[in-house]
């Protein structure tokens, strides 16, 4: 990240897009602070806050003890009293340590007190499989958040979305949970700071198609795109829908897409049962019932913890080969 002040980057990593979003926001708003485990001197376990300590100093970039519940709770307290914290949980799995503060406090503080106050903060966390990190460091827990009214939930796939979703979350007054897939940090793409792409609460059609809608978010959008390329060779025209935020959820784009293609595959790294894909499947059934030519397929991680062995982990989540296979069967 040699040049911080450009408006357009031909190729920037997801990680650097996040760093730029934090940097640019902190320059504009001195109420923003960053706090979390190893965010300062270390620069964040996945490098999303690298060098920010040098630029903003220890008053604004704060290393915390390994106290996940208090990280969230103290951030909320700071948000209630005039600051705008960006808290980082090193792994989304640590929601387990801090879920009282997330679900019972942060999500409800505005409602319980009759709308007296907002808690304008972001809780960033990193999730997903792909590094053999094991059952306690590989989960996709977006369902926990989506099932908790009061929390906005952003889960970007591209660097441009990561930048603009983070920037947006720092301007609105709701608490936002921001989930980053661990294998996206090194992926790269365009960043146009002047093109927010009407992003918040609006799904993005990554590829237009007429035969089948694959509805996904985060890293699985990449799998959908690759499968769509393969399927195109076999004359199956797939539409890839990237949800980008799960709350607000862009129901209209999902419904519109499936009404057009009449077939849907919902793709996610969360577990099969009672997860985000189940919700999307319900929406499709509720609103596209008469349009559907085939049952909606939920293609997800297995209903098991994540295994460490790479050969198992690879098949624990959806594979591109099987997305292709299931899509072909749906389009028969």
């Amino acid at each position: 990240m040699s040049d911080l002040n450009k408006n357009y980057y031909e190729k920037i990593t997801f990680r650097d897009a996040l760093r730029l979003a934090i940097h640019d926001s902190m320059q504009e708003d001195e109420k923003i602070i960053v706090m979390g485990e190893d965010v300062a001197a270390y620069g964040g376990a996945y490098g999303a806050t690298k060098d920010l300590l040098k630029l903003f100093g220890p008053k604004r970039i704060i290393d915390t003890p390994i106290s996940e519940a208090a990280i969230v709770g103290a951030s909320m307290g700071a948000a209630l009293t005039g600051l705008r914290p960006i808290a980082e949980l090193m792994y989304v799995d640590f929601f387990g340590m801090s879920m009282d503060q997330i679900a019972n406090q942060l999500a409800k503080v505005r409602y319980m007190f009759g709308g007296q106050i907002n808690a304008p903060m972001i809780l960033r966390a990193q999730g997903g499989t792909g590094r053999s990190a094991g059952a306690q460091h590989s989960q996709s827990l977006e369902t926990w958040i989506m099932h908790t009214p009061g929390l906005y939930l952003s889960i970007p796939y591209t660097p441009n979305d990561a930048y603009h979703l983070l920037r947006t979350a720092l301007k609105i007054n709701n608490p936002t949970i921001f989930i980053e897939h661990k294998l996206l940090y090194n992926t790269s793409g365009v960043l146009d700071k002047n093109n927010p792409d009407q992003i918040f609460g609006k799904a993005k059609i990554r590829k237009k198609g007429k035969d089948l809608s694959i509805i996904s978010y985060s890293r699985m959008v990449n799998f959908a795109e690759k499968a769509a390329e393969e399927l195109a060779k076999q004359k199956i025209d797939v539409e890839v829908v990237d949800l980008r935020t799960l709350n607000p959820l862009d129901r209209e784009t999902i419904i519109e897409s499936v009404k057009k293609t009449k077939r849907a595959l919902v793709l996610s790294e969360s577990c099969y049962t009672a997860g985000v894909p189940s919700e999307i499947t319900s929406i499709i059934f509720e609103h596209c019932y008469t349009n559907l030519l085939k049952p909606v397929i939920r293609y997800t991680a297995e209903d098991t913890p994540a295994p460490v062995a790479p050969n198992l982990e690879e098949n624990y989540i959806p594979t591109i080969e099987k997305i292709v296979e299931y899509s072909k069967k749906l389009c028969k």
Partner: protein, 337 residues
């Protein structure tokens, strides 16, 4: 009256207001006018909230636990709006959406009552962080019960406050019982100050009924916190009645209750005033009558406050600039149309 002659009457008045308020909450419940039964009264526990409330400054902030009516009153809460909130009515502090256990007034620095044991403790760490960052000279005090002494979040929070030298005070109102479990059956080490001291906090243990002394000592701890030396205060007391309205206290003997209720901070203060000729019986009676009228009015206000509009189910989940959540009815009608 000299300052020392006004201090005790003031503290007495606050304690008596708390007790009378709580008694009226009990009456409101019997009349069937409260929203539910989750009512945790602090009768017998008035000393701690009163002396800390007086020792805090106007700009200071605080969080409370589920038994927090007294602290709110000691910090200037309006009994009418409190009672209306407890009744689940429109004129309550939180439009009746919070109730007894989730009452708050951000303008008074009340950052929220909490129904999760220990849940509101880290909030004051963040408030202390803001105060220091924004140079606002605000101390933030977390009030909680002895139950929270056994919650991990307290120790995460104490450590952070100590590490970052925050203007924060942790105050444990130890009423001897976590619901029905006596503290002897819940705490391996009952000397809580030792636990707090091990985090580098200034500590204070109040275990008698001398509220003037408790006020002076509490103020020392709060004043030190204002200079970025966080502190811990334990106030020992006795919960005169059950955990909540439906609790008949089967876990403790009547003898114990009779004995412990003799340690009444309000009677003690009253006797001190008489003994030291600060006030005579008539003067005390007048204070009590005035309070009684005030709290009767609060109860009437709550009973007469209107109910909420049904739309209030959906408001206040998200910032007011954001769309309201879609109702289930609207969703179903859309599907069936």
């Amino acid at each position: 009256m000299t300052q020392s002659n006004t201090l005790l009457p003031n503290l007495y008045t606050t304690m008596k207001r708390i007790r009378t308020f709580e008694e009226r909450v009990g009456e409101l419940f019997i009349k069937g006018e409260t929203a539910g039964t989750m009512l945790h009264l602090s009768i017998g526990e008035e000393l701690g909230p009163t002396c800390l409330g007086a020792a805090m400054q106007k700009q200071d902030t605080f969080t409370t636990h589920h038994r927090g009516h007294g602290i709110f009153i000691a910090r200037g809460g309006d009994p009418k709006k409190m009672m209306a909130e407890i009744a689940g009515k429109k004129d309550g502090y939180c439009k009746g959406k919070g109730g007894s256990m989730h009452i708050a007034d951000m303008k008074l620095g009340h950052l929220g009552a909490n129904a999760i044991v220990g849940g509101g403790i880290p909030t004051v760490v963040g408030a202390g962080l803001s105060s220091k960052y924004l140079e606002e000279d605000k101390v933030s005090v977390a009030f909680f019960g002895d139950g929270a002494m056994q919650q991990g979040i307290l120790y995460e929070s104490m450590n952070m406050a100590s590490l970052w030298k925050l203007p924060v005070v942790f105050c444990c109102i130890n009423n001897q019982y976590g619901m029905g479990t006596k503290i002897d059956n819940a705490a391996g080490l009952k000397d809580f100050s030792k636990r707090a001291a091990s985090f580098g906090l200034n500590t204070l243990h109040i275990d008698d009924l001398d509220i003037e002394n408790a006020y002076v000592k509490s103020k020392e701890i709060i004043d030190k916190a204002r200079k970025f030396e966080p502190g811990f205060i334990e106030v020992e007391c006795y919960r005169f009645f059950g955990h909540a309205r439906m609790d008949k206290s089967p876990y403790r003997s009547e003898e114990e209750e009779i004995k412990m209720r003799k340690s009444d901070p309000i009677s003690y203060a009253s006797n001190q005033m008489l003994k030291n000729k600060i006030m005579n019986e008539d003067e005390i009676k007048k204070i009590n009558e005035k309070i009684s009228i005030e709290m009767d009015e609060a109860m009437d206000f709550a009973i007469n406050s209107p109910l909420n509009n049904q739309k209030e189910i959906f408001t206040d989940v998200y910032d007011e600039s954001e769309p309201l959540p879609i109702s289930v009815e609207e969703r179903i009608n859309k599907i069936l149309s």
